[in-house]
Point group: C2
Chain length 232, copies 2
DNA sequence: TCAAAAGTGTTAAAAATACACCCATGG
DNA sequence: CCATGGGTGTATTTTTAACACTTTTGA
């Protein structure tokens, strides 16, 4: 039963957060979507999201929704854009503060059936005809990811803690959508001295096992202070 | 008299837009501020802004506020960030969608006393101790401007339609806060073939009159389509 | 004739690009 | 022994950086 006990002198919009969560599944960039079970847009895929509580910072709201709806825990999270078209939600004025997140899918793969919600990792190329203006939100997030991955070391957020140089290169090729020269790439990345070479190699591969590396976040912070600019 | 006739089942935040308007006054980067005449923060400088109407897109709200409060008309306007700390306004939950704008101060100089409001162009270096979280908003806008001016030709929005290469160079030096080599700068900029050389020179200067140029927006769009990337 | 800013080339160093073969491993 | 991906170096081109003097103009 509705009480409608919150009254104001002027009308107010609702405010929600919506999250574009990216994960890398081999050579596919995927996004976490939720099947809507009620109108509007019942049956359509939508970005996970929900209302912002009155005493809650926006980013906390995004984190809470992610945890509630998807079980996703530690991740890279950044505000994307605020979508406020008066007609973006047919039910009324709903302003959406969108965030995008990067998760290590290797750790979070079995998310799908966690909650009662029907959540699924969908190839970004297949993720169209989403509910509300979520096509636009997703496109904005993709543009941002493609731009940012070139000048900030956020790509590592999509990889497991230990990774091979080929995995890293493949990540950039997938996100940027263009091939990269292997030798030049390795030289450039290693020259930044941001990667720690581990005394381990891949296991159980049917070819020469590749060396594993770890991204050294602390070193990155040091270098940035000294004026270093990451660039791929 | 308050009527409080807008009632909802759950509490809702207020949503405002705030604008960081930059203008270039010779070698000073200035920001448009408004002196608050009422609490909270009475007497303090604040960014121009105001409530978003229920049927109004966010960007329209920003444009409207700018026109109402400052008389500023055509300008570059872009969404900056949404600030939503629950305590950023002592009166209650107010979510601020911030925009930043670039105006040709040469055209808009006499804004100050336009409206009844006490608006003023303030050197960004002097613009501290602002109301609410506006120090943070201003810093975010400055960071964005400094980053974006390097890879998008938005600096021209701060100059008159006709300008000299020295004015352009000085703009970059002011915003980036570092000196630039004159010969290298001119070669690089002219090589982009984004500037139209005009058959005019400066007038009434006590030294050799410099050639005037105009930014060719159409040409820029063509080049971008062909894969060109602006960079200073 | 002086002060003030406009305008103009070259050289050296660094960075980016293009490119092909041998190696180690498990099946 | 073969299929698969791992790993490595050099030469060329392009881009960036450093640097100083002559010209024009109005006061």
């Amino acid at each position: 039963m509705k009480k409608n006990k919150y009254c104001y002198e002027y009308p107010r919009p609702s405010v929600v957060v919506d999250c574009v969560v990216f994960g890398l599944d081999d050579d596919l960039l995927k996004v976490l979507l939720i099947r809507r079970d009620r109108d509007p847009f019942a049956g359509r895929w939508a970005l996970p999201g929900g209302f912002v509580d009155m005493d809650e910072p926006l980013e906390s709201a995004a984190l809470r929704e992610l945890k509630e709806e998807t079980g996703v825990g530690d991740l890279f999270l950044e505000q994307l854009y605020t979508f406020g078209d008066p007609h973006r939600d047919p039910r009324g004025r709903v302003i959406s503060v969108a965030y995008y997140a990067l998760v290590k899918l290797s750790d979070h793969k079995p998310v799908a059936a966690d909650d009662a919600r029907d959540a699924e990792w969908v190839d970004v190329k297949q993720a169209t005809k989403l509910a509300f203006d979520h096509d636009t939100v997703l496109k904005t997030a993709l543009d941002r990811l493609r731009a940012k991955v070139r000048y900030q070391p956020i790509g590592f957020e999509l990889l497991p803690a230990k990774f091979t140089l080929t995995q890293l290169q493949s990540l950039y090729e997938t996100i940027l959508g263009q091939p990269i020269d292997k030798r030049n790439f390795r030289r450039k990345i290693l020259a930044m001295s941001l990667l720690t070479e581990l005394p381990e190699t891949q296991q159980q591969v049917a070819h020469r096992a590749a060396r594993l590396y770890r991204f050294d976040r602390q070193r990155y912070r040091q270098l940035v202070k000294a004026g270093f600019n990451f660039e791929v």
